[in-house]
């Protein structure tokens, strides 16, 4: 056994676990007081379902015997061996399980303030037990995309864009929150209730992302690789914050805090696919584009009238897709990429493979989650009643207030 590698993966797993707190705080802060408890409950429960579903089915589908489409051995982890030499299976599983939890929890923010709690329970089990592991198997478990040299280092597509596609389909099927768009279609502001919580959540996510990316090296044996991942994971979000800030400043006249915070997450998602195989200069460019993309795609969602409460689709979806494609642009075989990127004279080959991978993963995710949501809709219904939505999901679904004893002033 390799004690140092084991410690490294376990430490990074703990950091990734803490990202759950980050998601929870971002989402709680960006909803109204009347729904804060409900969205936190969803965050807590989807993680717990992720752990259970990933233990029973997920790991076997993702890392079970080398089928091209799905793995079929190792239910309940039985009879499996650790794919990382010198690291116990349990530690490797824990590291993978917190990733599954991350994919699941992305959705709760986009469908916040209107999705039924029971509907969310069904969804969160299915995504972590089946949808995420299948895509994960294609890319990381020795499936067909891995064989084609598709490269997604820590999961811009496998984790983030996958979660965002589910978020997009969910938000689109639910329809916008009451009052989010005027009768003539102009978007209206429904302001989150606690920006300090959102800011704390984003800092926690950034903090946890060092585990998410640097831990995905799965080893400390190459310190230079870990160092490159860590510095890229710092440069990209920093530049993305500045990009989102400047774009929002130019577009809306003021530097917008919530967009700058979304920008940080966009930069983190954007660098996740390529952190190991690009140099610092490329990570700055990736951050710059990611930060700007966040602001523009929030505008785009307003135009097509999909109500994404916390900006999960711009952050995890748009930046996730861009981040995965950027491997085919900035990736360098000298740094460990399987194919030479466009800017390193590799032509469009790598970019084409990356595009194919994104299309296949997200296409499969979109169709399967659409069927899942349709099934849930016909069994328990997706959306709460109009009265429940007006009064808030905290009181109606959970019988409690998040801010009992506070006089909450609404400015709606």
């Amino acid at each position: 056994m390799n004690a140092l590698d084991t410690l490294w993966i376990l430490l990074c797993m703990i950091l990734v676990f803490f990202m759950q707190a980050g998601f929870g705080m971002v989402e709680a802060g960006l909803v109204r007081t009347k729904n804060a408890g409900n969205v936190l409950m969803k965050n807590l429960v989807d993680f717990s379902f992720a752990i259970l579903g990933y233990f029973i089915f997920g790991y076997a589908i993702m890392y079970g015997s080398d089928g091209l489409l799905v793995g079929t051995t190792g239910w309940f982890l039985s009879g499996m061996e650790s794919p990382v030499e010198g690291v116990p299976l349990e530690v490797f599983w824990l590291f993978q399980a917190v990733f599954a939890g991350t994919a699941a929890t992305i959705v709760s923010g986009a469908v916040a303030e209107r999705m039924k709690f029971t509907a969310y329970l069904f969804y969160s089990f299915i995504i972590t037990a089946f949808i995420y592991p299948i895509v994960g198997h294609w890319v990381w478990g020795g499936g067909w995309l891995a064989k084609l040299n598709f490269y997604d280092f820590a999961g811009s597509t496998v984790v983030h864009a996958l979660g965002a596609v589910c978020a997009f389909i969910g938000a689109w099927m639910l329809g916008p929150r009451y009052g989010r768009f005027a009768k003539d279609g102009t978007p209206r502001l429904i302001q989150g209730h606690n920006m300090p919580l959102v800011a704390m959540g984003v800092f926690i996510l950034w903090f946890g992302w060092y585990g998410f990316n640097a831990g995905s090296t799965l080893s400390l044996s190459d310190p230079q690789l870990v160092a490159r991942v860590a510095i890229n994971t710092t440069l990209s979000p920093a530049v993305a914050v500045l990009a989102a800030m400047v774009v929002s400043w130019l577009k809306f006249g003021k530097p917008d805090l919530s967009l700058a915070l979304n920008g940080a997450l966009g930069g983190l998602v954007g660098i996740t696919a390529s952190a190991a195989v690009v140099n610092s200069g490329s990570s700055i460019v990736i951050g710059l584009v990611s930060g700007a993309l966040v602001v523009f795609s929030i505008d785009w969602l307003n135009k097509i009238k999909v109500d994404d409460t916390v900006g999960a689709v711009p952050v995890h979806g748009v930046c996730g897709i861009f981040g995965t494609l950027s491997v085919g642009i900035f990736g360098s075989t000298a740094l460990g990429a399987p194919l030479e990127g466009l800017f390193y004279g590799g032509g469009f080959g790598a970019l084409g493979i990356q595009a194919l991978g994104v299309f296949a993963c997200l296409g499969f995710t979109a169709i399967s989650i659409w069927i899942v949501f349709l099934a849930i809709k016909s069994i328990v219904g997706l959306r709460v009643s109009h009265e429940t939505e007006l009064r808030g999901l905290d009181i109606e679904e959970h019988g409690m207030e998040s801010y009992s004893g506070f006089q909450i002033f609404t400015t709606e």
Binding site: G179, E387, L390, R391, I395, G399, M400, Q407, I408, F409, T410, E412
Partner: protein, 110 residues
């Protein structure tokens, strides 16, 4: 001059505000208040039952010329009916008003 005092549920405010804007009435004050209801609600918190008797309400105050009062009542009722139909409207007389900046009195001060 009359004062119109309105009690509605918190979530009715957007609809009432919109109806007032349609009637071109823009000046009013809104206060969040707590009010009793005829039937209490049972809530369970950590397994313990609790009777809730105070509910979040909105109190709106509008001071209007006599001639605008009916228009305002109509608009408020319309907005409140569109959002559940809950609420009360009270009308009281106002003796005088002063606009501090100009010293104008009565209707001119509104």
């Amino acid at each position: 001059m009359k004062q119109i005092t309105v009690y509605i549920k918190q979530d009715q405010l957007p609809a009432v505000k919109e109806a007032l804007a349609d009637a071109e009435i823009y000046h009013f004050t809104v206060m969040p208040v707590l009010g009793t209801a005829s039937n209490a609600e049972q809530r369970t918190f950590r397994g313990v039952e609790q009777r809730v008797t105070l509910f979040k309400r909105m109190r709106m105050e509008l001071i209007l010329k006599d001639s605008s009062v009916e228009l305002a009542i109509e608009a408020i009722s319309k907005g409140a009916m569109n959002s559940g139909g809950f609420g009360r409207i009270f009308v009281t007389d106002i003796v005088d008003a002063v606009k501090i900046w100009t010293g104008e009195r009565g209707d001119r001060a509104l």
